[in-house]
Symmetry: C2
Subunit: 254 residues, 2 copies
């Protein structure tokens, strides 16, 4: 399989290094990743300035292509300009930190995979639940197994798998669980500080409020030591509200 | 009604000026918008550097609060730090350029409204279909009518309305249409240039390929001179694939 790898932590991060090594065992790998960290950039793309592509080396060996843009930029650039063809799959990660529940909305890791899904390329976003990841083994094993499974079974056009792996030794992982996006979300707080010139500035902080309460929801599953696998898509239509609103007679509103 | 207004074109844009004037007729308005243009930033939020809030004046009169961040940052900051309470509704726009079909994924305008939906605040994103907008009248009228309608009927928690208005005189608009997110998408092309030092750089360009073919889809509706109103949400779960994958036995994969 021809595999395009990206991430949002940047091309020099540990997660993409481990993912690359793992997926070399199951396919032909090309890395196109952001030159610098792009966490929480969501599905941003770069239109206001041009992009550059740099060959990136690790220990004197060619590792991949760095783009001075976002994760979604990297996938567009990787497919359109670097590969020049649609790869069999795009894998984004391994992210340092979980991308469950409402966090999916803000995730650069997921956006790289979603950009692939928009191009009708099967895709996986994979994250480990701790920012200071200690265990990449299960995430690597999961990525290999899912890439092979998608190679066999395919994936519906426009769909990607959002995978979250507990940061635990393999022996403590209870297994894999098919899940839906949970409802847990951030309770934002801005921490006010004052600069040396007497002016205020604000840091985004807050707590992740966990409301998910069963194994069919991603955030609960990872807390229960399962690897969560959530199929997501980019049709944002709220079909339930669409049905309700068809009784609102908005056709007569203007 | 207490109305929080934001956008992605920046606090000094013409669209937010017209929206603000229109919504003052139906409620008490507070503007919190990006200091600089933030088109195509998707649902980015700022975590790697702190934010500042600046009082912004137009013609010597206080207009609103400018934040040196993204549209989603503005809504978080507006609700948590500036208002200090949940407004009755958040309206984002009026965007210069359409946000239909796959463009919704990249839209900063939509992300401001979605951030409100995440906080359980009803929200509207509103765009006019041309970058050089000539006609704001119908968009202003639409915003007022929809704010009042949501004031009466409410909106399901987690839902927002994504509204697109053809850039036409009011007399040429055929009416309002309840729609779903279309499938039209960008066919990306990177235009290669060479800088004065002989190095390559790339501009993102391309064509919007329109595949939508009926009035229930947003992109087709606006092309047919209707105002499209699409209810969207942030549950990205692909329930169809979830059902299919429950037969894949991924529980046994690790």
């Amino acid at each position: 399989m021809k595999i395009l790898i990206s991430n949002d932590d940047g091309i020099d991060s540990l997660g993409i290094f481990h993912l690359c090594n793992a997926l070399k065992e199951v396919g032909e790998v090309t890395v196109v990743a952001p030159l610098s960290e792009q966490s929480a950039v969501g599905h941003a793309i770069t239109m206001m300035h041009p992009l550059r592509v740099i060959k990136f080396y690790k220990d004197g060996n060619f590792f991949g292509y760095a783009v001075d843009g976002t994760p979604a930029d990297c996938v567009k650039m990787g497919v359109r300009n670097i590969l020049g063809f649609l790869p069999d799959i795009v894998v984004s990660g391994i992210n340092h930190g979980s991308n469950t529940a409402t966090s999916v909305i803000y995730s650069g890791t997921v956006s790289a995979a979603r950009e692939a899904a928009i191009m009708d390329i099967p895709a996986i976003a994979i994250s480990v639940t701790s920012h200071s990841v200690s265990n990449f083994d299960t995430a690597c094993e999961t990525a290999k197994k899912l890439v092979q499974l998608i190679g066999e079974k395919g994936l519906k056009k426009g769909t990607l798998l959002n995978v979250n792996v507990p940061d635990l030794p393999a022996s403590e992982i209870k297994g894999m669980q098919l899940t839906k996006q949970g409802k847990s979300k951030w309770d934002d707080v801005y921490e006010k500080r004052v600069d040396p010139y007497g002016k205020e500035y604000f840091w985004l902080t807050g707590d992740f409020v966990e409301t998910d309460d069963n194994l069919t929801l991603d955030q609960f599953a990872v807390k229960q030591k399962y690897v969560s696998v959530t199929p997501i898509h980019f049709d944002l239509t709220d079909h339930e509200t669409y049905a309700q609103m068809s009784e609102w007679d908005i056709e007569t509103l203007l």
